[in-house]
Structure formats: structure tokens, C-alpha cells
């Protein structure tokens, strides 16, 4: 009998929680108000723009040259 009462109370409480949630979260408008394609396209373009491999190669080569021949930094600075 006690078990039956406990079960009833639990179910009753669960139903209260469900009802409280429904009241606490009002319905949201699920209609999309604008076309998102231009933004998707912008995002695709932005992520595709990157530094080309030959730029990285040039930076790497310069770093190696400066480490091997430190005086080159002065020559390089003079020409800037």
C-alpha cells in the first residue's frame, strides 16, 4: 500500500514538473525570418581564404637564412 502511494506521489510530482516546464518555457517562433544563404556563402569564402603555401615557404627560407647568416639581417634591414 505504501509502495503504491509512493509511486502515485512520484508520478504526480513528475507530472507537476512537466507542467511547470511547459509554463516556464513559453513557445518559441520556429519560423526563419531571413535567408541565411548569403551568410553561409560568406563563411565558406572566409574559411577558404588562407595563406598560400609559397608564402609560408618564403618565411621559412628567410628564417633559415637569418639563422645561418645573421649579418644578412642588416642587409635586409638596409633594403627595407
Amino acid at each position: 500500500m505504501k509502495e503504491h502511494e509512493d509511486k502515485y506521489m512520484t508520478e504526480h510530482n513528475d507530472r507537476q514538473i512537466r507542467d511547470a516546464l511547459k509554463q516556464s518555457f513559453p513557445p518559441v517562433n520556429i519560423e526563419l525570418m531571413r535567408d541565411l544563404w548569403p551568410e553561409v556563402l560568406r563563411k565558406l569564402d572566409a574559411r577558404q581564404v588562407g595563406v598560400p603555401w609559397y608564402d609560408w615557404a618564403l618565411v621559412g627560407l628567410s628564417a633559415v637564412m637569418f639563422l645561418a647568416f645573421p649579418r644578412l639581417v642588416l642587409v635586409f634591414a638596409y633594403h627595407l
Partner: protein
């Protein structure tokens, strides 16, 4: 070659057609979970971008809508995990079935707060099942799990919420 095949081959026109066809559905699904139109729009754009990036993994004979919904759900769960309410839930007794509208509003806010502090996966399952009252099989498909697992998540969410509200002295009407 059909639309989905062209999409998997990276044709941007095919992708544009799919975006225009499915953006509303992805947005509607996302906004039901995150409950914020601005965030839902951002997440929809991110979902569509990820869909394009993952196009090689999509089988053209598969269900594009279900696949998109699953990606959107995962992104929404990540968003909820990253944006959990910082403040702790107060444990003083308050808002015990009072007729005062101000107290009722406070109770609602505290229920929302307690709900948003649930683990993200439980929160999503409970939102879709209890707040949105969507069918369990639809939720299971979007979460990439079984109907039984969704029911278990909802059950756990209700139990945790009941315990937390009871500790805070809140008895929902």
C-alpha cells in the same frame, strides 16, 4: 546526376539549393533546443557550413534532412555545454505555490535556471520531449540514439530537476 550526388561532389549550386530547401527546418529544430532566435541563426549557419565541409561523408542515397538535423543537434548540445549558467542555484525556501504573480515569475525563472543547469544531453532530450512534446522516435533520430535511451534521459532529467527544486523549496503547481 541528382542534387545530392552533385552536392557530395562539391557543386556549390547544388549546395545552395539544399540550403534554401533545409535552412528553415534546421533553424526550427535548433531554436527549439536553444530557445534564442539569434543564437539559433548563428548555429544554423555553422551547421550548414559543417554540412558542406563534411559532404564527402554523406551517402547520396541517405536522408539529408536527418543528417543535417543530427549535425545541428550536436552543435546545439555543444553550445549549451559552453554556455551553462555560472551562478549556483540558491537553496533557500522560496516560491512555494504563491498566488503573487511576482513570486510566480520568480519561481518560473528559478525552474528555468535549474533546468539550464542540467547536463546538456539531458536538457536537450527533456526540452524536445517535455516542452516541445515531439515524438520520441524523432528525438532519438536527431540525437543518434535509441528511443529507450531518450526516455531514460528524460526520466533522469525530471528526477534531477525534481530533487533540485525540492532542495530549493520550490514546489511547482
Amino acid at each position: 546526376m541528382d542534387l545530392l550526388q552533385r552536392f557530395t561532389h562539391g557543386e556549390i549550386d547544388a549546395f545552395e539549393t539544399l540550403v534554401r530547401q533545409f535552412q528553415g527546418d534546421i533553424y526550427a529544430w535548433t531554436v527549439r533546443i536553444v530557445r534564442d532566435p539569434g543564437v539559433a541563426e548563428d548555429l544554423t549557419v555553422e551547421t550548414l557550413w559543417r554540412i558542406y565541409r563534411a559532404r564527402h561523408r554523406f551517402r547520396p542515397d541517405g536522408n539529408f534532412g536527418a543528417w543535417a538535423r543530427r549535425i545541428a543537434t550536436n552543435l546545439a548540445i555543444d553550445h549549451l555545454r559552453r554556455n551553462r549558467p555560472e551562478q549556483s542555484f540558491p537553496t533557500e525556501p522560496a516560491g512555494v505555490a504563491q498566488p503573487d504573480p511576482l513570486l510566480q515569475r520568480e519561481t518560473r525563472e528559478r525552474i528555468q535556471q535549474a533546468f539550464c543547469r542540467l547536463p546538456a544531453k539531458l536538457q536537450v532530450a527533456a526540452t524536445l520531449a517535455l516542452v516541445e512534446e515531439l515524438p520520441y522516435d524523432e528525438i532519438a533520430s536527431a540525437l543518434g540514439t535509441s528511443v529507450g535511451a531518450v526516455k531514460l534521459r528524460v526520466f533522469r532529467a525530471v528526477r534531477i530537476l525534481r530533487k533540485r527544486l525540492s532542495q530549493a523549496g520550490i514546489r511547482p503547481e
